[in-house]
Structures are given as C-alpha cells and as structure tokens.
C-alpha cells in the first residue's frame, strides 16, 4: 500500500508537470500574447505596451518564459525599467517556490489574492456539501429500501429534475421567489437577501445564516439529486447479495441488517464520490458566486477571466488541477482502505 501511494505520488508529479506545460501553452495562445486585452481596453500606446511587455518579461521566447514561470528569474538579469537592456536581477521565485507572480489587474501577488478569497469559498462550499449530504443520504436510503414506492418515484423524479436544473437558472429563480416575490409578513422586507456574505459589520449569526440560505440551497440541490440517486443504486446493488440473506437468516433485526450490513458497504462508493468532489471546495462554484455576489474563488476566477488577468487564471487552474489529482489519490486510497476486496500492489 505504501509503495502504491509512493508510486502514485511519483506519477502525480509527472502529471502536474505535463499539466503545467499544457496550461501555460493555453494561456499564451491568446492572440497578441497575454497583454492583448490590456492594450485594447486601456488604449495603451505601442511604446508603452512594449515597455510593459519587457517589464513582464513577455518579450522572451516561450520556453524561457515557461522556465521563468516555473523556477523564477532571480538567477538572471531582467529588464526592470523596460528600456530594452537588462539591468538588474529578477525577483520572481517561480511557482515551484510558491511564487505565482503578480495579478495584472491589482498588481498584487496572485497568492495574496487567492488567500483572501479561499476562506469565503471554503465556508460556502463546505456548508453546501454538508447540508447536501445530510439530506441526500436519508433520501437515498428510503428510496432504495422502498423501491417503486410513491416516495421512491417522487425521489427519482426529483433527482432527474435536480440534475437537469442548471445552477445559473436555479439561482435566478431563487432570487425571484425568495427575494422579489415572497416578503416577510411582519416587516414587508424580502425573505432572504439576494447576495453577499453579510450586511452587518462584525459577526451576527442570524445575518450570516440569512445570507447563506439562497446560495447554499442553489448549490446543494444538484448535489442532493446526484448523491441520493447514486446511493440508491448502490444500496439496490447490495440488497440481493448472499451475505444479506445470511444476515437475515441468522436472525438479525431488519434495522441492523440494513444499517450495519447494507448501508456500510453501500456508502463506500459514495465516500469516494465525495472525495472526487472535494476540488469544488477550493475552486468554488462560478455561477453561484457570480449570481449571489459571493466574494470567493469562483467569482475571483470569473473576474480574472473578464479582465484577462492571466497570471491569476493560471494560478487558479494549476492549484485546481493539483487538488483534482490529489482528490483522485485520496479517493483511490480510501476505496482500498474501506473495501478489503480492493487491493493495490
């Protein structure tokens, strides 16, 4: 197992390396280079643009730019004032040493921008996922144990509908219903705020929860639909197995058979599914965060795409990809750990 994990980590490094080349290449596909958008939107003169180019090191050949991005430029002389001749040593350390460069828009370190937003996304997404699971698991169990009952029919239909509801439409509907149409009968105010994390200074619990309701509901619905359907079919696969009959035959009460024998095994694939969804807790939900004005990673990424802020986009993509690879590894290890039938050598 240890050897397996070591080998996987080794593979992961190779994978990340390939990904970094791919993503770096993609960003530099932009016609006219990464500064093109800046030049158009701010009407920078060609001379000024050339200076900017030299200052950002964009005049160098692509492979060299990639190496600088990866390993930094403090070992070489760079053109700091942009006059065409290298004058001093660079200050970039490269992503290998945790330096993702500076945001084009704010001119601040990319990592600072990300650090500012990550807590907000973690906060929103972990609550969303927690609530989704708390609702999806009971639905999945009930719907599997009462297959073809009225509840099951309702749950599966709901699950189909939930998976077909795009977040960006559901978000708008939520605002329409719970912000615009439904009013608090006592005060005449909207039932829930339509966006933001809080509307008061400092921490007021009720206010925080009020702001969470709509984004969490929007995000959780899809997950509930997806997880409950998955758990249902996972349980249905286990119910006809021999060891279930054995458990009943030896006289265990139905409740124990169901929860100790069926559910425990049925949850194994669900756990790995959750592990695979963990990257969203970092990258956030672009639609929910843009619709509900939530200052998290998804909105940061969207804004960066609008501004063509390539260093920031690249950083989020690389870190996001690293999270995906990591969560794949976690899912595989968890699977082997939870299911003794699965063995890796």
């Amino acid at each position: 197992m240890i050897i397996y994990i070591m080998r996987r980590i080794f593979q992961t490094i190779g994978l990340l390396f390939l990904l970094s080349i791919l993503l770096f290449g993609l960003v530099n596909l932009a016609p006219g280079g990464p500064l093109a958008g800046q030049g158009q939107s701010r009407h920078i003169s060609p001379e000024k643009a050339a200076i900017l180019k030299r200052q950002f090191g964009l005049d160098k050949p692509l492979p060299l730019q990639y190496i600088i991005w990866l390993a930094g430029n403090d070992w070489m002389r760079v053109d700091k004032n942009g006059d065409g001749s290298p004058d001093s040593f660079g200050t970039r350390k490269g992503i290998l040493r945790g330096d993702f460069g500076f945001s084009f828009r704010t001119r601040r370190p990319v990592l600072d921008e990300i650090n500012l937003r990550v807590p907000n996304t973690l906060y929103l997404m972990s609550i969303t996922m927690g609530i989704a699971l708390a609702i999806a698991i009971p639905i999945g169990i009930l719907s599997a144990t009462r297959q073809y009952s009225f509840f099951d029919l309702f749950a599966t239909t709901f699950s189909f509908a939930g998976q077909a509801l795009p977040e960006f439409w559901l978000g708008l509907l939520m605002i329409l219903i719970f912000y615009a149409w439904l009013k608090n009968p006592l005060t005449g105010d909207s039932l829930f705020p339509s966006g933001g994390i809080a509307s008061t200074e400092g921490f007021v619990l009720a206010d925080r929860i009020n702001h969470l309701v709509l984004p969490v509901a929007t995000g959780a619905l899809g997950w509930i639909a997806w997880y409950s359907r998955f758990l249902r079919s996972s349980i249905l696969e286990i119910l006809p197995l021999d060891y279930m009959r054995t458990a009943r035959a030896k006289g265990l009460p139905e409740r124990l058979v169901l929860y100790r024998h069926a559910l425990r095994n049925a949850l194994i694939p669900v756990v790995t599914l959750i592990a695979l969804d963990l990257p969203y807790i970092f990258t956030g939900a672009v639609f929910i965060e843009t619709i509900f004005a939530w200052p998290g990673m998804g909105r940061l990424y969207y804004q960066a795409a609008v501004d063509r802020d390539y260093p920031l986009l690249l950083a989020v993509l690389i870190i996001g990809a690293a999270f995906i690879i990591l969560s794949n590894l976690i899912a595989d290890v968890l699977y082997a750990y939870l299911d003794p039938r699965v063995r890796y050598e």
Binding site: L23, L29, G32, F168, Y179, Y302, A305, G320, I324
Partner: protein, 321 residues
C-alpha cells in the same frame, strides 16, 4: 446478424400461455430488442417526445412572424400574451422567437460537442484497449492529463481567449468554436468506456477467429470489436449532449460564449439578469428551455442504458425475446 433479421420474428404462432412463451426463443435483432426495451421506459419515451418538439420548433424558428434581432421599442418589455407567448425583451424583441433561435445554437453546439468528443475519444480508447501495452499506458496518461483539468474553468479561459480575437481556423465566438472548445474537454469518458469494452472483447473467440482468417487489425476493430462496444458509447453520447448544453449556456451566461445579438439560451438569461425581478418572464422561459432539453436528454439516456443492459430485468410479464 443479417441472417437473423431475415428470419421471421413476430409472425411465429406463439400461444397466449405465458409458460409456453418462456420456452420459445424468437430471434430478434439487437436493434429491435433495444427498441422494444426502450419504448417500455415511460420517461425515455416522454424524453424523446419533448426533445423532438424542442428540436422541431427550433428548426422551424424561421416561421415566426417576428424578427430575431431587430428591436421594436414600441412593444418593449411586454408581459406574455397571446401575441408574444413568452413576452418581449428590453428591445421589444419577441422572446419566443429568440428562444427558438437560441435553441438552434444550443442544440447545434451540443451536437458538435458530441461529434468532436466521439471523434477524439473513440479512436484513443480503441487503440489503447486493442493494442494494450505501451500504447495503452501512453494514451491513458494523456487522458489522465485532460481528466485532471478543472474542465469548466478551462472552458471559461478558452472562451475568454477566443473572444479576444481569432485563432487560426477558429474565428470568434461562433457555434463551431464554442463546440470545439467544449468538445476537446469532453472526450475522456468515451476513451475510457471504449478502452474498457475493447479490453474484454479483444479476448473473445470470434476476434481470434477473424484474426485467424487473416483480417487486418483495422478490419477487426471496425467490423467486429467496435459494433459490440457501441451500447455504452451511445448512452454516454446522449448524456454528453446534456452536459454540452449546460456548458454552452453557462459559458454564454457568463459572457464568454455566444455573443449577443445572436441569441443563445445562456445569453438570454444574462440579458434578463438586469431586470428580471421586475420582468420575470425574461429569466423564466430561456431557463425552462435549457431545463426541458437537459431533462429530456437525461431520460433518453436512462432509457437507453436500461435497454442496452442485457442483465436488466424487466418487470412486465410477456418479455420472451
């Protein structure tokens, strides 16, 4: 297969006795069998119906008496009525007309995405699964690289880059470029499915027999292995159509997809966003179109999955194929 189809299928005199019916095996072609199982799935049949209506309405959008893009400020922001079933937008354009033209865009992007994903994924999976060994591990590493990408974020990046100007072969945010961008990030499931099917099928006796008769690898792959692994691919292709529609409309919603005035279900929602609490029909109807198309496609996919699965037990009595 061809011989089976010419055999009498349903005109055999089968007595009504269910016990007798169980014993009789009537040869039925695979396609026929799948169809008979498929039409038993009420959701799938409803899905086909709804999807066909959406597609036909979108195709015949030109029949609408109202122009798609010309504004008519005299009738701006009218609520749904007999004249404008979905109401009109801020420039006085008929929303139904625009939603139907948007349907053309969204559905064609969906088709293009599925086409591109099949064109990349099936050959990669087939080569990896058929030859195995080093080719397999190289192709699968390549697939892993794409699977490790935060797909939708990359789609946003590419959409942003494309709207900046034109790349070689890809000009601006057209149906083709958006379909291409989503398609090159959607083929991985096909590669994996086809590879898995090929790994099993290449070991079967009829493949060995064909090889013994001197068939080339290409012939074996195309004539013998591919047709027998097509079931899961068709199911996945159907579901992929739904994902593609969501991604296209999401991308257009964020402003990196199809650009106005060309309508797409996604950018109709963006337009609505400014004032939708006052004029809710602007937000409700385009989203409803997205919802209906995706749910119908998902039900069709579910029906196809059941129909292609030989181990799925059908509850209705009388299945004697």
């Amino acid at each position: 297969m061809a011989d089976q189809e010419t055999l009498p299928t349903l005109n055999i005199d089968v007595p009504d006795d269910p016990e007798y019916q169980k014993q009789v095996t009537v040869p039925v072609s695979v396609g026929n069998q799948v169809w008979r199982r498929f039409r038993r799935h009420p959701g799938a049949v409803a899905g086909v119906l709804v999807f066909t209506i959406l597609a036909l309405a979108s195709i015949s959008a030109f029949l609408s008496p109202y122009p798609v893009n010309e504004s008519n400020m005299g009738i701006r922001l009218q609520a749904p009525s007999g004249f404008h079933i979905m109401g009109t937008d801020a420039l006085g354009r008929d929303l139904l007309t625009r939603a139907l033209y948007g349907g053309r865009i969204s559905l064609s992007v969906g088709l293009i995405v599925v086409g591109i994903a099949l064109a990349i994924g099936v050959p990669i999976g087939a080569l990896a699964g058929y030859y195995g060994g080093r080719i397999d591990s190289m192709l699968m590493r390549f697939t892993d690289v794409f699977l490790s990408l935060p797909a939708f974020l990359v789609v946003i990046l590419l959409g942003a880059i494309i709207s900046e100007g034109s790349l070689p072969f890809l000009k601006g945010n057209s149906v083709w470029t958006i379909g291409f961008v989503i398609g090159i990030l959607s083929w991985m499931t096909f590669a994996r499915l086809v590879r898995a099917a090929f790994l099993t099928i290449r070991e079967l006796d009829y493949v060995t027999a064909s090889r013994g008769l001197g068939s080339s690898d290409l012939r074996i792959i195309i004539r013998h292995v591919l047709p027998n692994s097509i079931g899961p691919v068709i199911v996945e292709a159907t579901l992929e159509m739904g994902y593609a529609i969501v991604q296209e409309s999401g991308l257009s919603f964020l402003g990196f997809g199809i650009q106005p005035p060309t309508p797409s279900w996604g950018n109709l929602l963006t337009n609505a966003q400014e004032n939708f609490t006052k004029y809710p029909w602007l937000a409700i109807f385009p989203g409803l179109m997205i919802f209906l198309s995706i749910i119908s496609v998902n039900y069709i996919g579910d029906g196809l999955r059941d129909a292609f699965d030989p181990y799925k037990v059908l509850e209705t009595v009388g299945e004697y194929t």
